[in-house]
């Protein structure tokens, strides 16, 4: 990696298991790199102040807001987006969102799922309070959060509603 400051560089990232090399301007946000350059449009933009969490992805395993990270900062990193969550089958978390009516318009849902899946990875059966803390950085304007919290708690209880 060059230590001469440059305004554009080749970035190498592994996104949802696929290794990608791409030239990207230093000023491009990770979220725009994912959406516009890689066509991974499941990651959404809901604000311009790093407040809403719709753009949440896993960067080397931890949830971050991809609108507050430059694509060049992600060079060498492993990234998981909502498209990378499920294989052929939906994950128990995705199923639980479906069963608990934890989404309406679905715009915040990818970010919610990324935050919630990160929580479940380190805390398989979180309490209601722990779930609320983990999702506090994700805004939803449709549901009032109640069903979302229930859906995540339920996964911890083995999917029981």
């Amino acid at each position: 990696m060059s230590t001469t400051p440059i305004t554009s560089q080749v970035v190498t990232v592994t996104v949802n298991g696929e290794r990608i090399e791409k030239d990207v301007p230093a000023r491009r946000l990770l979220v725009h790199f994912l959406r516009d350059d890689l066509d991974l449009t499941g990651t959404h933009v809901g604000c311009d102040t790093g407040s809403c969490g719709a753009c949440t992805v896993h960067l080397d395993g931890v949830p971050v807001k991809s609108c507050a990270v430059l694509a060049v900062q992600a060079d060498g990193a492993t990234i998981t987006t909502v498209e990378g969550l499920a294989g052929d089958e939906l994950t128990p978390l995705q199923r639980s969102f479906h069963e608990h009516h934890a989404l309406q318009c679905g715009y915040c849902t990818p970010g919610m799922l990324m935050s919630a899946s990160a929580l479940l990875a380190e805390n398989p059966s979180p309490s209601e309070e722990e779930v609320k803390v983990a999702l506090q950085g994700n805004i939803c304007r449709c549901t009032g959060y109640w069903n979302i919290v229930d859906a995540v708690v339920a996964v911890g209880k083995g999917g029981a509603a």
Partner: protein, 294 residues
């Protein structure tokens, strides 16, 4: 009278101006990059800086990304001092055994900053260097009597928290400087820390806050959100004794608000901030006192 206005697009859109980027491998390299390039700025977690750049309220020409500088991410105790690297994330502070043992208030407060995603990226160094007047750590570190270590091409220097904060988004870390370490005295017996305030919703932006710390009857109290920099409540510190109760604290705090000239905004009038400042001090002090007894 006409106002000739260039570039009326002054309204937020999350698109940065062109900027150059480098990710040095060593602190020396970082310092030289910062000093060699005009308008160069250190990029830590970026949780404030990148958002400020999106608004184009600031546009550094060069970003020096500190991500590779692992030596700035360590948290350790040497003697009676807790040493936190400027690049330690808030999440790592929350999970640190050293912090837990020697100054738990730091983890307690870190856990209430913004949200999980921000805490995963955001660093202690970034939080203090940006010095947004509503940030959590500037008043806390002043109350804890922290010391900042700054590297520059001229070498290393230490600045006490009391002198570190200079203005909004402005600190003793000047162009060409790099904050490397924050040193906090480890809490011994008879030490208690507290922080209280009012936020915009749970874990939201502070409207007003106060941090208090007592060690064997000696108090340090700092206010946040009432000026561009944290404000020491010296009169209160002197008025407070070794053992305090609700009444004595209120007596000590009475009149504090009148000495302040706080900003007003959509969330609080200056008077409301004066009142919140007093209430926050009372609560922070009582919390600290209670913990000192344990």
């Amino acid at each position: 009278m006409t106002c000739h206005e260039v570039g009326c697009d002054r309204i937020g859109a999350m698109l940065l101006r062109e900027v150059a980027y480098a990710r040095p491998a060593t602190v020396e390299e970082a310092v030289s990059l910062l000093s060699e390039h005009d308008g160069a700025r250190a990029l830590a977690g970026g949780q404030t800086l990148v958002n400020v750049m999106k608004q184009r309220a600031a546009s550094p020409d060069v970003l020096v990304d500190l991500a590779k500088l692992d030596e700035l991410k360590t948290i350790s105790v040497s003697g009676t001092t807790l040493e936190i690297g400027a690049m330690a994330t808030l999440t790592s502070i929350i999970g640190s055994a050293e912090v837990e043992v020697s100054r738990p208030i730091l983890a307690e407060v870190a856990a209430t900053v913004a949200d999980v995603q921000v805490r995963n990226r955001g660093t202690l160094g970034g939080n203090v260097c940006l010095n947004d007047p509503t940030n959590h750590f500037p008043p806390l570190l002043v109350a804890l009597g922290a010391t900042m270590t700054i590297r520059s091409s001229q070498g290393e220097r230490s600045v006490p928290a009391d002198e570190f904060f200079i203005g909004v988004f402005e600190t003793a870390v000047r162009e060409g400087d790099l904050l490397t370490r924050i040193s906090i005295p480890a809490a011994g017996k008879g030490t208690g820390d507290g922080m209280a305030g009012v936020t915009l919703g749970a874990h939201g932006t502070y409207v007003a806050n106060a941090a208090a710390s007592v060690t064997n009857g000696a108090w340090r109290v700092a206010l946040g959100c009432v000026a561009a920099v944290p404000v020491r409540a010296s009169a209160v510190e002197e008025a407070l004794g070794a053992d305090v109760d609700d009444a004595s604290v209120r007596a000590a705090v009475a009149g504090l608000g009148a000495t302040l000239d706080p900003p007003f905004d959509v969330h609080a009038s200056a008077d409301y901030r004066r009142s919140l400042a007093e209430t926050s001090v009372v609560r922070a002090v009582l919390q600290a006192a209670e913990r000192a007894e344990r």
